[in-house]
Amino acid sequence: MGAASELNLKARELLAEALQLDVSEVPEDAAIGVTDRWDSLAHMRLIMALEAHLGKPVDTDAMVAIEDISGIVDILKTA
């Protein structure tokens, strides 16, 4: 699996955990305002899961930029 695919998978896993779904149930186009389960508490769980995975706080600019899976991937690239 290429690095990009690994990051995408990890992003989907973290999002799945936050949305309380199986990874296979996370839509490819999951996004704020599009995915009903992606609500304010899920978003909080996502950020906290990202910080736990990275072992450090998420940069505010990057955190605010999260709107979909690509935003999560961008943060994972900084690890």
Binding site: I32, G33, M48, V64, E67
Partner: protein, 189 residues
């Protein structure tokens, strides 16, 4: 009927009524929100330790002209579960903040339901050009709610304040322009 400045307002959504609070609304539940550590953390404050008199004084500062303090009432209930404040900062700019004090309603998409009707009032009746939201960087649910309504991230003010543990945190400013809202609301579900 068009809004008359200085008169209380009443807005309605599918599940909630929002109306201007009065000193009579300084109930034990309302005061408790100001003294609750979890609720106040969302505003970046420690518990205020307010008395009823202080709550009444606070509510009395809102004049329904450039300052509104709207209680959020589930339909059929007399007790609010939170409030939505609207404050005109300058001639054509407004800042808002919303607090859901009743924790039973956390995670129930209350803000996503009530904010649009408040924005309609702000842009249609108050006729301002811009609405601003300011939030501490650790208030993830609030950040989510701004992004869900397609506010623009206008800036991150670095180390703008300290959290309750004394650590520096950033402040994020979101903005929404009048024309932007008119386009966004066309697509709302």
């Amino acid at each position: 009927m068009a809004w008359i400045p200085g008169t209380p307002i009443r807005l309605e959504t599918e599940n909630y009524i929002l109306r201007s609070l009065t000193p009579a609304d300084a109930t034990e539940a309302y005061i408790a929100w100001w003294n609750d550590a979890e609720v106040q953390k969302s505003l970046g404050f420690p518990p205020r330790g307010w008395t009823k008199d202080q709550a009444v004084t606070h509510i009395s500062k809102f004049d329904n002209r450039g300052r509104f303090h709207l209680g959020i009432f589930p339909k059929g209930q007399d007790e609010p579960i939170g409030f939505f404040s609207i404050i005109r900062e300058a001639g054509s700019r407004v800042v808002t903040n919303v607090v859901i004090g009743n924790k039973d309603y956390w995670g129930k998409a209350v803000v996503r339901e009530v904010r649009p009707v408040c924005l309609d009032f702000i842009f249609d009746e108050m006729r301002v050009e811009k609405v601003v939201g300011k939030v501490n960087s650790d208030n993830y649910p609030s950040i989510f709610n701004y992004k869900a309504l397609k506010y623009k991230t206008e800036g991150v003010l670095r180390h703008h304040a300290k959290d309750l543990d004394g650590n520096w945190i950033d402040e994020v400013q979101f903005g929404l322009l009048r024309d932007e809202w008119f386009e966004i609301r066309k697509d709302l579900k």
